[in-house]
């Protein structure tokens, strides 16, 4: 017989989360044998690069454009931000290729695959608004070239690439928030469903 405590949303949510993602599944001690291959390291490489992107971005936000354009340390952190983004995309594309050829949507992993796809798209938008927010001649060139393409889609009515303030806010608030939340969701789904096994194994058997 269910009590009033059983009906509370906090109780129901806790039981649901604990049922789907018990601690030993969230932070497992071991991984299936097929995970011992270099092709499986690119997801975590992408996340590590994302951590450096966010960290260097926070420092850039603290000090501002004059600092990153004119001081030596500013140049260094600016470069760190750029190159961590390069590694982020490099690792994400290799991860994408690996997962595509593994058919990583198999075994009820459609949501895992789709969150990855949307994260990839959000990351491209984040990188683009970053290039548009550099506040130099490069960003002027990129935005004046991009405006015609964006306007031809109709999105220019609410997404004006020539509006530096808007691009900066998208770059440092909205899109990183989306990228981080989607990445967290993607990783949680990987933990719930497990790493996709190779084609020769039955789905879920090796877990």
């Amino acid at each position: 017989m269910s009590t009033s405590i059983d009906q509370q949303w906090t109780t129901r949510l806790r039981r649901r989360v604990a049922g789907k993602l018990p601690p030993e599944k969230l932070l497992p001690d071991t991984q299936p044998a097929y995970v011992s291959s270099w092709i499986y390291v690119f997801g975590v490489t992408t996340m590590s690069a994302l951590a450096v992107v966010i960290g260097s971005g926070l420092i850039l936000a603290l000090r501002g454009p004059q600092w990153w354009h004119e001081s030596s340390i500013g140049h260094f952190v600016n470069s760190l931000h750029l190159w961590s983004v390069e590694i982020f995309f490099f690792a994400m594309v290799v991860h994408l290729w690996g997962k595509f050829f593994m058919g990583a949507w198999r075994g009820g992993r459609t949501a895992t695959w789709m969150t990855g796809v949307v994260t990839f798209l959000a990351s491209i938008a984040t990188a683009f608004t970053g290039y548009a927010s550099q506040s130099n001649f490069d960003s002027q060139w990129i935005t004046t070239q991009a405006k015609d393409g964006i306007n031809s889609t109709g999105a220019g009515a609410f997404f004006n690439v020539l509006n530096l303030g808007q691009m900066l806010m998208w770059h440092i608030v909205l899109l990183p928030l989306a990228a981080v939340v989607l990445t967290a969701l993607h990783v949680l789904l990987v933990r719930i469903k497990g790493v996709v096994p190779p084609y020769e194994d039955k789905v879920g058997e090796a877990q």
């Binding site: 044998a33 011992s36 291959s37 270099w38 092709i39 690119f42 490099f90 290799v94 290729w97 690996g98």
Partner: protein, 60 residues
Amino acid sequence: MAWFSFLAALIPLDGYGHYLHWGVINISVANFIVIVLMVVTFIAALLLPFPGRNRRKESK
């Protein structure tokens, strides 16, 4: 700092970009190199042995 100057001399970044053309395909050399490196990394990740893989098999 000397090797920074040496590296900068090897890869000049101040000039005009270099582009490759194959019919309708037009790509900068820098982007082409990145794509080639990604393909090489992908193939290497499939072929190179992962440390500890044999040890795991033996312990089974």
